[in-house]
Symmetry: C2
DNA sequence: TATTGTTATACTCTATAACTATA
DNA sequence: TATAGTTATAGAGTATAACAATA
């Protein structure tokens, strides 16, 4: 099957690599019932208890409404709480529930295994190079 | 904002980089009305006229039903045709329409500009290294 | 029996626009 | 005026399961 110019396109290679990582994640961590994006949210809120949805949306580069949807799913799943902000009555302070913290504890070792297995084709140095180039590309600083 | 362990995860950096590329694509090529995934399909079909949906799904690593949805959108948009296969009456032979070919001609230079601009943070050599590592990670041969 | 394509159903992610409550 | 959050609406992408037609 001829892929034409696709292999020369960074965007295509990124999509393919991410698709592969997602499928590996689903097969190896999916039984815990969360997606990679939801894991990101849980980690961020765990590291910044009380953060607002607007601050989180800005940090993750998505719209407030989009983030609200994802937060809503995690609230419905019992992993997150929206508490009233002590300083701004428009705002919600996001916190992990006890269940959310327990889930995160179970997730972390599973995710490390998944990462190692999914990137087994690359050496430790190559993985490090790849992370560095991706971070520069994303402008995540 | 503390990102916790996220920056150490390849999956997170991939998601962020892809999100950035997607947003840049949408802003710079989106006026032509196609998504990156649809471009991939148009390029593949342009390079392999008459290919079947099943063969395409396998090459792209998605389910037949999922690919059928995307093909259906491009057919509805007038960019693709499903013709009867000359050798297997179960199968469709996919072809670009004249409009699809014209669209692809307009897309290619725009995509090259988009790729260059979106990856401006990286040197030519770094972009090449990144493509190579991503291809290895994706197992795309 | 196996494969090709379709349909039905469902879920995640994402966005824009309009709304409210509050700052 | 501007911001935080929600809701309504929409579209893309993905998947599984069941089905008809064909191999």
């Amino acid at each position: 099957m001829d892929r034409g110019i696709l292999p020369t396109l960074l965007g295509y290679q990124l999509r393919r690599a991410q698709q592969r990582m997602f499928q590996h994640f689903a097969a190896s961590v999916g039984d815990l019932g969360v997606t990679p994006g939801q894991v990101g949210l849980l980690v961020m809120i765990g590291a910044n208890p009380g953060v607002s949805q607007a601050a989180l949306a800005k940090a993750l580069g998505v719209e407030r409404a989009s983030l609200g949807e994802t937060v809503g799913r995690l609230v419905a799943g019992g992993h997150l709480q929206r508490r009233p902000s002590p300083v701004d009555r428009r705002s919600h302070a996001l916190h992990l529930t006890a269940g959310g913290e327990a889930l995160l504890e179970r997730l972390l070792p599973r995710i490390r295994e998944h990462e190692t297995a999914a990137a087994a084709r690359l050496s430790a140095q190559e993985r490090s190079t790849l992370r560095r180039l991706l971070r520069r590309l994303a402008g995540d600083e």
